[in-house]
């Protein structure tokens, strides 16, 4: 792997106040680039991609019906900042649309409803089948929420929000402990994406549907920010925890070039708004892609 590139990536991350792990691979010729590609990292909401893949694989084998309707009640479903998780009334939706919510806006309620439908076992089996050898997925959104409240010792909303930016509180936050949380590596995630783009992770129809859902993600501030071109398609899934900012995705150029990229960062600052930390995910990804495109 190119030392200059690794040095360049390292200084980009340092300049943005983060430490970062990155892996990028050219989906057609297998050329790769990276920094800390095999370092264990916190997965955060990026686990929703193998979760949705597990749902589509279950549908492929007749174990799940994507058109089947699920009713989510406000009192019992998982809450979150977006989608159904942020709504107030009961919602009835198909599994296929729950997958749309989980990937396009990282809806916690939708993700946990899918996990409840297929079971955690299907999720771990999918990660294994997808070749994610260094990945461990053992919890879903509501487990993370429960462990967050337990670590910080409060369920008072105002106090929790304050503690989530308090460095001392974050240093004892169990959900930031790699050994106790869903973890993966940048390489495992590009392996997962490659399977979805090469139609080997599930049936071709399912892979195509997941690719479409990933391209509907609304967030422009991370991976997509590095590719501000109308003729470049960016399909990705973010993941965020206090000080953790991730995105995994595929960038497709008009000349046919396709690159799977996974970027995982940890910021020193605990502020909720760190635009440089978000943007460096795009800048670092672009740097790696340009390296791969130079051939």
């Amino acid at each position: 792997m190119n030392e200059d590139l690794r040095h360049h990536l390292g200084s980009l991350f340092a300049g943005a106040g983060v430490t970062g792990c990155l892996h990028a691979i050219d989906l057609d010729n297998g050329r790769e680039a990276g920094l800390g590609a095999d370092t264990p990292v916190l997965m955060a909401s990026a686990f929703k991609l193998p979760l949705v893949l597990a749902l589509f694989r279950a549908a492929d084998t007749g174990l799940a019906d994507l058109a089947g309707q699920v009713r989510l009640e406000p009192g019992t479903r998982t809450s979150g900042p977006t989608g159904i998780g942020a709504m107030t009334g009961p919602v009835t939706m198909t599994l296929r649309d729950l997958a749309h919510q989980a990937l396009s806006v990282s809806d916690n309620a939708a993700a946990d409803a899918i996990a409840d439908h297929i079971g955690l076992g299907a999720l771990t089996a999918t990660a294994e089948a997808a070749g994610m050898a260094a990945t461990r997925i053992a919890e879903i959104c509501r487990d993370v929420a429960a462990r967050t409240a337990a670590s910080l010792g409060t369920t008072d909303p105002a106090q929790l929000t304050r503690l989530l930016t308090d460095p001392a509180a974050l240093s004892r936050l169990a959900t930031l402990d790699l050994t106790a949380s869903n973890r993966t590596t940048a390489r495992d995630c590009t392996t997962l994406l490659a399977g979805i783009w090469k139609d080997t992770a599930a049936s071709p129809g399912s892979c195509s549907a997941i690719r479409h859902l990933l391209s509907l993600q609304v967030w422009p501030h991370r991976l997509a920010s590095g590719f501000p071109f109308d003729d470049v398609r960016v399909a990705g899934k973010t993941g965020t925890l206090p000080t953790v900012r991730n995105e995994i995705g595929v960038v497709e150029y008009p000349d046919g070039g396709r690159y799977a990229i996974a970027v995982f960062t940890r910021s020193a600052a605990t502020a909720l708004n760190l635009p440089r930390a978000d943007a460096v995910i795009g800048t670092a990804a672009r740097t790696a892609v340009e390296y791969l495109r130079r051939g």
């Binding site: 340092a14 106040g17 430490t19 955060a44 909401s45 998982t78 809450s79 979150g80 900042p81 977006t82 942020a86 806006v105 990282s106 916690n108 959104c141 509501r142 487990d143 993370v144 929420a145 429960a146 967050t148 409240a149 369920t155 909303p157 929790l160 929000t161 304050r162 989530l164 930016t165 308090d166 460095p167 001392a168 974050l170 240093s171 004892r172 959900t175 930031l176 790699l178 967030w219 501030h221 973010t238 993941g239 965020t240 925890l241 206090p242 000080t243 940890r266 910021s267 020193a268 600052a269 605990t270 502020a271 909720l272 708004n273 440089r276």
Partner: protein, 320 residues
């Protein structure tokens, strides 16, 4: 008289039958060994050796005493070795880091407070930047540190946090030194800023410059300085300002001015490794807060946005 030690001398001479060789074996010189044997003989009231210029021989009393002396030593050795092992286990060294800009009297007070509370722990205090301490805590070269927040806390425990308001050092003969209640960051416009080098504490450096920009101070140039005298020189010249805690100004031509609203309060965090913390951790943390106080700075009230995309903020946190 230390009887056990003197019996050791006696055994060595009795076995070597030569004062020079016995002294060499005991890693000492011959005259003190001779004196100590004489002292032992006086204490016991018997002669142990017959000395002639050419040879040394045991007396009858010496021959009788030798096995008894060996017996006593064989019983004493285990007691001494156990005691020395216990001493080694309880007297330890605590390797601790403090940031380079900490004032001299604070460091002296810190050493004193720790010595008082933990007389059996030697404090190995090192001046070191936040970045260097962070790295040393991770590699096990440091047991505890005082670091400038923010920094990545993975694998570390952040203990007590000391909040210190920062003001501005300005030239005493310049317009910023004119008596007024407090300065605003935006009042500094036009002056360069002197600060520590970014690699010393990158996130704190960014935090300072972001705060300046937010409050309307856009320094035309930022000078990174390691030492206090270079900083003082740039400030003295009237072209630059620097941020620092309220202490005696470093130079007579420099004055310290308060900043309204404490926008730049510094947070110093006592920090140690999560795994196997040193036994002196709590005492050092107490000494730091005792010396520096804990203080309190106004913390911003965070307002979450959906794009923060936090995975699973607990139920209800975002129901606003």
């Amino acid at each position: 008289m230390d009887l056990v030690q003197h019996l050791r001398y006696f055994i060595a001479v009795a076995e070597e039958l030569h004062f020079g060789r016995a002294a060499a074996r005991l890693h000492m010189s011959q005259p003190p060994l001779s004196q100590r044997i004489q002292r032992l003989e006086r204490e016991l009231g018997i002669r142990l050796f017959d000395r002639s210029p050419r040879q040394v021989t045991l007396t009858e009393a010496g021959r009788l005493l030798l096995p008894e002396a060996r017996e006593i030593l064989s019983r004493v050795e285990p007691i001494l070795s156990l005691a020395s092992r216990m001493n080694a286990a309880t007297s330890t060294v605590l390797r601790a880091g403090v940031p380079p800009h900490l004032e001299g009297d604070s460091i002296a007070a810190l050493l004193g407070a720790f010595r008082e509370s933990s007389p059996h722990t030697a404090l190995d205090l090192r001046e070191s930047t936040t970045s260097a301490q962070h790295q040393a805590l991770g590699s096990g070269e440091l047991d505890i540190g005082v670091l400038q927040l923010p920094f990545l806390a993975a694998g570390l425990v952040i203990g007590p946090v000391v909040h210190r308001p920062l003001g501005v050092l300005v030239a005493a003969d310049g317009p910023l030194a004119e008596p007024a209640s407090e300065l605003l960051l935006s009042d500094l416009g036009g002056h360069d800023l002197v600060t520590f080098p970014r690699p010393a504490a990158p996130a704190r450096y960014d935090e300072i410059l972001d705060t300046c920009a937010r409050h309307g101070y856009h320094p035309p140039a930022v000078h990174e300085a390691d030492g206090g005298s270079f900083t003082a020189g740039l400030v003295l010249s009237g072209t630059a300002v620097a941020f620092g805690p309220e202490t005696a100004p470093p130079h007579t031509g420099v004055v310290w001015r308060r900043l309204a609203g404490q926008p730049l309060a510094e947070r110093l965090a006592v920090t140690w490794p999560k795994e196997q913390p040193h036994s002196g951790t709590a005492a050092f943390a107490r000494a730091v807060t005792q010396v520096l106080g804990s203080g309190h700075a106004p913390a911003p009230e965070p307002r979450s946005r959906p794009a923060s995309d936090f995975l699973a903020i607990p139920h209800g946190v975002l129901d606003e």
